[in-house]
Symmetry: C2
Subunit: 288 residues, 2 copies
């Protein structure tokens, strides 16, 4: 077996391969001036573990199909996709008539070209299991809760409260809080009128004079995070930081988040490794 | 039946639909800030003709899969892809070990999601037929030669010579020249040493004092075109222009081509309609 990381996750791929005791063989992608991609691979192993996050997913998906085909051409018997971040999970139904259900289309596409899928904390709403998304292949969803808890542990103030933005996040926030022995508060999305959604936080009085850590699966625009931070500060939290599995936020989003009084944002290297990102390689290696 | 054009070929889609006497129902694409695409369609017809060129193909391909799925979800029984320009045709083998054969991967992908494929002058080298590229579905390759000949006809100097860059282009150049009664010259690619390829043009003396028109299937970087133009001018051609089915050249390429003494470049609207581009809708309608 060997790990085939794309360039954007080379360090993660090397860490994963080292943990598994197998080689990391980088996938070479060349973009021609006309926008077409050429994918070139080292000789395939019988079991090929292709590693690539699926943020900004369109070109990445096509290149993954090219990689899978090149591996099979070279004799790979099993081609597993490890996508620490799995895109296209939000569009799980036609919200308006005529809309493509991209979650299903992309899930089927992955299932048609790979023999297995591993991802971390996929953003599933109305669909409850990854098996429904990628039918017919083993599909494993692993939780980053243990690595997030381990990251928070050193020097943690035991009076810290972990805060989830909505009721759906409760089990997940609790799985981080319980090994740390922390209290949990969970918000509620309350609909006002037709479209406006406001977050309310029952029991927020408990935050007075205590540090708060917001926990979410994905940080993207940061809108939810910023509204929560406002509530936590108004309730008297002494400090507000945030931790999430996936950091999709762009620079300008991070600046808005900082300006809202969130003094630190910690995420894993599911999308890109940057100084201080929490490495997923150990839990990916366990899952393989 | 209805035509479903994407935004970049809306005018062509409307012309095609008008020629067929069926409605044109534009496909709406929204790109979310995270790079994911949302595709939304008008209610599907039983036979849906999806129209989109496949230049810069990666995101376009994913969106085509989304569109095909949304059409089937809505009850379309037959979903035909009309891609006037078909990308990914050049990589028809592994030129170096480990390379993905993208022509085959993309052809199979189209065959798996559409019930038919129509394109214009695909750039096929070592593979001789479009049926091999898109196995199992009716795949029709139509020639733009008649519309190019019709475009050249008005006011044409009968002493004009049509010039093809290499021996592969001969049948195609002749199919444009013969209805116009023009002479044809065809170049030869001569390999010098390991990599350098030079074009030679046997019989080029015949060009002296006559206008020349270079004919190719695709104009992209313009390198071939510029080298040919140099030969034609050195041989004493009174003027050099170029005509091709597909205009992939970018602005800077067109400027280099003009600077090489090519006074006019004419292409069809296979990739994008611009003032003066030669409309393909009539021959697409005939093929449907
Ligand atoms: N990549 C995306 N970015 C932003 N919104 C999306 C994305 N994909 C789907 N949506 C929309 O998000 C809404 C569903 O989000 P949610 O209720 O959070 O599951 C629907 O209106 C979708 O059309
Ligand atoms: N989109 C592309 N742009 C430029 N070169 C390409 C493209 N796709 C494939 N190639 C390369 O073009 C060469 C084959 O071109 P040809 O001999 O003209 O068929 C091979 O080296 C391919 O890797």
């Amino acid at each position: 077996a060997a790990v085939y990381p794309f360039a954007e996750c080379l360090a993660q791929g090397e860490a994963l391969a080292a943990a598994l005791g197998i080689p990391a063989l980088p996938v070479e992608v060349h973009r021609f001036p006309d926008g077409e991609s050429r994918v070139r691979l080292h000789p395939p192993a019988r079991t090929a573990i292709v590693l690539r996050p699926l943020n900004d997913p369109n070109a990445r998906l096509i290149e993954l199909l090219l990689a899978a085909a090149a591996l099979r051409d070279g004799g790979a018997a099993r081609v597993i996709l490890v996508a620490p971040y799995l895109g296209y999970m939000r569009q799980d139904m036609a919200f308006r008539p005529g809309e493509a259900v991209s979650q299903r289309v992309i899930g089927n596409l992955i299932a048609a070209h790979f023999d297995g899928l591993i991802t971390v904390d996929p953003h599933l709403h109305r669909v409850s299991s990854l098996a429904e998304v990628a039918p017919g292949i083993p599909a494993l969803s692993i939780s980053a809760a243990p690595v997030l808890a381990a990251e928070l542990a050193p020097g943690l103030d035991p009076r810290t409260v972990l805060v989830g933005p909505d009721s759906e996040s409760r089990p997940w926030v609790e799985s981080i809080a319980s090994p740390l022995g922390l209290d949990v508060l969970v918000g509620e999305k309350v609909r006002h009128g037709d479209r406006a959604v406001r977050i309310e936080l029952p029991g927020k009085e408990a935050l007075h004079g205590r540090p708060a850590i917001l926990v979410d699966d994905v940080i993207s625009s940061g809108t939810t995070l910023i509204e929560c931070a406002r509530i936590l500060r108004a309730a008297g939290a002494t400090s507000v930081e945030a931790v999430a599995t996936h950091g999709l936020a762009r620079m300008q989003d991070l600046q808005r988040i900082a300006a809202a009084g969130v003094f630190r944002v910690r995420t894993t290297d599911s999308i890109a490794a940057h100084p201080g990102s929490i490495p997923l390689a150990p839990i990916l290696a366990q899952a393989l």
